[in-house]
Symmetry: C2
Subunit: 420 residues, 2 copies
């Protein structure tokens, strides 16, 4: 069983947009046990699309097509698919109703051009679009499934999750797949591999595959297995996860189970704070407000987050975060002594249970021999307890800011998880 | 003249990484007048790569290949290209020196595996890699140019800019291309089209093409022309840009000339502030520190940026930004009256020339009939002058935060540009 993706649109070829759809589709198909064999990006051109369709049909069982729908593209994909299958376009009443409803919600009436959007090839099964006006289409012929969807990411994603995956699972007998991912931080890939080598060797016996997914200072360990009895798959994998937990407990900050929506670091922290009825504030120097803005980006942040002081200059640190000039002179602005003072003070004045304080040398300038570019100090305050860290990241400014932000968030998360 | 891109690697097909390389390459090729005909992503597999190479060779003149190099991939691309061209692998002394130098900089010696990286097909011209150990290769046969590069973005980008583009321009007689882009904000695509219709109609006579590139509340207008006399191209386009400036002056916040590195909004603002020897601070509610962190992300921020108060809760607004409870009751936290007070106070206490203050309803909750989700108020302070805005963006939280941030930055930028 193989799948292919065809993306249609000049905007991808000239680099006006980055194709993020294909990676997302690749992930989703991989999760149901269907491998993407090839991705082809072609232009909004009849001959080119026809050729891509026949090439993909020769290689794959499922062909997923995105883009080239909608009135500004003259619905080139729809017309070309119609031609490829020697079908004819007919008005679909359900689609017309959907389109009319969408227009009504914007207080607009359906024009002739939009009416044309409700025409679909007779041979196709409609995949309804509840988020836009261009419908999707599914055509099943000679044991091969063709699916055409709009290129707008949120329209395409809803179609894949709600309609296309069930359709694929119905048309093809795929084995059950089960994934469980363990999220670790604070340990490199090779060190991790060494620590769990023995455990990893035992996975093959249970037909479980392990993938190391390193990403930005954290390593996700994904266990995957396939089979015909879902309950047994689940039991086998979860047992292995329990064994793993014992081996690397201090590095785990969370889990991702198959079917659950993945959460990013700040989502996890906001949830963790909400569950514990805690509030938080930040005092930031080199991260410049990024930690605060990551927290605020999460729905529900207002119930846990009160605010932040971004003290980029030392004067602000002294005036608003109670950092004395003596402390600055003795230890320097980038020191855990200073971040501890910042964390304590922000919790007191903003009256929060938790505080995160950061000071570092983001670069490219400002490094010294003792404190080179990439040196970052972080203090975490939780009621009357404090934990401090001193890291050395990279030479790149943006990378240092991003790593400081993510690592500070995850260390607080790990602290909270470990208190359970 | 056509080019194609082949990306090699399972990590793209299973969606573990998003292919950003292709969009970047597409942009660069487009800028030198070379159109990408197709992008194909294939697996780390000999037969699959061979097939992709012969298909691409049948369709295109320039074939750009990324990925599948390096020891962990067993250099699959190199071996397969070697096979495709019936060549043989030979040790290249220049590459070996480059590899040895890179290892020396990490205080490591070259292992046998790394030595193998210095082997290249005899038929290939080496494209040196100054940022990593896998060399690039160029093969020119039957008027077709094949280029293979590593998939690591910064290694590939340096190779394309410094070596591959000159090589393409040498092997193929491409016309000169000249672009000049006018950056606008505060006016929609269709309104803009209406305003400049007459001017736009006149472009064809000078063989100038216009592209509307909308992105996140701003529209970039790119003028492009091609020909054999670079000086004439430049004169023609720059004259048209001058005409355009008269028509839409209040919406222009900058220009991008072909060959100059594009700057983002915060880079432009930091440069503008630096040039004018001004300092800045921010007082943020719904953006949660994002404006501050955008400024801090720029190299050189420390000479203009002092800090920020993120006052997410009203208590913090009252205690630290001098917003009276009377003002809050009378106008509400999301009002230009409140943001003006915030902007004035942050400039005074942080002693900066400029201040940006934001308050809004990011959503999904908190909207009312008068102030629905997406309502954002911004005040800009510049010495003793203040400008205030009230916008209504979208229903999506993250989009509202991002739009508020970008629009606030660009409005200050436009203000400064207009004072010149």
């Amino acid at each position: 069983m193989r799948a292919e993706i065809i993306t249609i649109g000049d905007e991808i070829l000239i680099g006006q947009i980055v194709d993020t759809n294909s990676a997302w589709i690749g992930q989703q198909m991989n999760l149901i046990g269907l491998k993407i064999h090839q991705i082809s990006s072609v232009s909004d051109n009849r001959e080119h699309i026809l050729k891509a369709l026949s090439e993909a049909e020769a290689r794959a069982d499922v062909i997923l097509i995105t883009g080239g729908l909608g009135p500004t593209k003259d619905d080139i994909t729809k017309h070309t698919i119609n031609e490829y299958f020697n079908s004819e376009l007919v008005l679909n009443e359900t689609v017309l109703e959907d389109v009319t409803k969408i227009f009504a919600s914007f207080n607009r009436t359906v024009t002739e051009i939009n009416r044309k959007q409700a025409e679909v090839p007779k041979i196709a099964e409609v995949i309804r679009n509840f988020n836009g006006t261009a419908p999707g289409m599914a055509i099943y012929r000679n044991n091969k499934l063709f699916v055409s969807m709009p290129g707008v990411p949120h329209e395409m994603k809803a179609m894949v999750s709600e309609q296309v995956i069930p359709l694929i699972q119905m048309k093809f007998k795929l084995p059950y797949i089960y994934h469980h991912t363990v999220l670790t931080q604070g340990i490199g890939e090779s060190m991790l591999a060494e620590k769990i080598q023995h455990w990893e060797d035992g996975l093959a016996m249970d037909n479980i595959k392990l993938a190391y997914l390193p990403n930005f200072g954290s390593v996700r360990l994904r266990l995957t297995t396939a089979g015909n009895d879902y309950k047994i798959l689940l039991q086998k994998v979860d047992e292995k996860v329990r064994e793993l937990k014992i081996l690397i407990a201090p590095f785990i900050y969370g889990y991702e189970r198959f079917g659950e929506t993945p959460m990013n670091m700040s989502e996890r922290l906001v949830k963790s704070l909400t569950d514990r009825v805690l509030t938080i504030s930040t005092a930031e120097s080199c991260t410049g407000g990024k930690i605060a803005s990551e927290i605020v980006s999460i729905v529900g942040a207002s119930s846990v987050f009160k605010g932040s002081i971004v003290a980029y200059s030392n004067t602000i640190k002294q005036q608003f975060l109670n950092v004395s000039s003596e402390l600055l002179e003795r230890f320097g602005a980038v020191s855990t002594e200073v971040t501890e003072c910042m964390a304590k003070h922000i919790c007191e004045t903003f009256q929060t249970n938790c505080g995160i304080a950061v000071s570092g040398i983001a670069g490219p300038d400002g490094g010294t021999k003792e404190k080179p570019v990439g040196t970052v100090c972080v203090s975490l305050q939780w009621n009357d307890k404090v934990k401090s860290f001193k890291w050395r990241f990279s030479k790149e400014r943006q990378r240092n800011i991003d790593l400081a932000t993510q690592t500070a968030l995850v260390e607080l998360l790990k602290w909270m998880e470990s208190e359970d």
